[in-house]
Amino acid sequence: MDEDYYSIDSILAENQKIQCTFKVEIPDMGHLDGGSERDIKPLSKMQIPLWMAYILIYSDYADFSIPAPFNARVRNALNAEARSVRLSGLVGQGGSWYGFGKMIVRLLDDAPADEISKVLTKTFRDRLLEVIDQAQHFAALGAGGGSASGDGAQMFREGLESMERELFVLAQESAKRTKRWYETTDKSVK
């Protein structure tokens, strides 16, 4: 999700489609929509991968609408209780909701961009504590520990977004390592 050209996360985050409305006619490109039309007509709508959408939007060939993972419904749900939204479900397998969001922010103008950016930041902070708590809980259980408390926690874990998963692993590993150190005693003469 860095702007890094070589960042795999960034490339994966671009692998999302957004809905574009074409403003001009583009001949001989109808096959992009999988339809039988030969040309793309003005005002026709199409799902376009983000990496292709950039150039269309910047060159004013098309407009785009805020994609579903960031629409009002999702935002309301996030406002109500960020921890009960399954972010992973919004962007599909291995998708990066935050990465996707960041790309949308880059496509938007000031006011709406700020708004989405605020949603992203707030959601991240609201969920972070729960991510870390659960990671540490699992680290404390040790290898092969029993299943964690409750369905809510399980639901939350399944809904973790790829970035949050990464943080989960980092926190868990770190907690495990520290715990191991506290628990081992070495009294041998070296």
């Binding site: 902070r125 980092l170 150190w181 041998s188």
Partner: protein, 186 residues
């Protein structure tokens, strides 16, 4: 990078223990030894029963060979720790502890628990202290933002434990925040 993943994110606790072992601690030697030069400096001479300051690694080595008693640092006592625990649980900030107290306390408890008064009580106090402080660093997560974080008096082992995900989260927040400069006044 060729480093294994486990070593990339931060220093490991045993490494921190090694670093802490360079600090000096008082011992009562049971053998005599002339002043001896080491890479880190000259230590000694050991003249029982006079006290002497040595690096912890050397003190533990002698202790394990039953050639000295370790004089625990002032802060490694029931009274001091009890006082700190009370303060730790009653106020919001972390209270000041020696920066590497966790490492040193563990070394001394491991090799020289017979030189301590009431080691079991000390152990349980240290554990309580650790948990109280962990609860506070957990609070710190909620205050996390993209530009700065101040958790004064946090000690090396605690910093090390939270470092990997704190810096990653701050990195993510930097990416998500639209104006890295102040502006949005959050």
């Amino acid at each position: 990078m060729a480093l294994p993943i486990s070593l990339r994110s931060s220093v490991t606790p045993p490494e921190l223990e090694l670093i802490a072992s360079e600090q000096l601690i008082e011992i009562i030697p049971l053998i005599s030894m002339d002043k001896t030069a080491f890479i880190s400096g000259a230590y000694g001479p050991l003249r029982p029963p006079a006290k002497c300051k040595l690096p912890i690694w050397m003190a533990t080595n002698l202790k394990l060979k039953k050639k000295c008693h370790i004089v625990p640092p002032d802060w490694l006592s029931v009274d001091f720790l009890q006082d700190r625990l009370t303060r730790e649980t009653s106020q919001l900030e972390f209270c000041a502890m020696p920066f590497r107290f966790a490492e040193i306390a563990k070394i001394v408890l491991d090799v020289a628990s017979d030189d301590l008064e009431n080691p079991d009580k000390i152990r349980s106090l240290l554990k309580d202290l650790r948990e109280a402080r962990q609860a506070k660093s957990r609070e710190g997560i909620t205050k996390l933002d993209h530009s700065e974080l101040s958790l004064p008096n946090l000690c090396s082992m605690e910093i090390n434990e939270i470092r990997p995900f704190f810096i990653r989260s701050m990195g993510v927040l930097t990416q998500l925040t639209r104006h890295p400069a102040p502006a949005d006044g959050a």
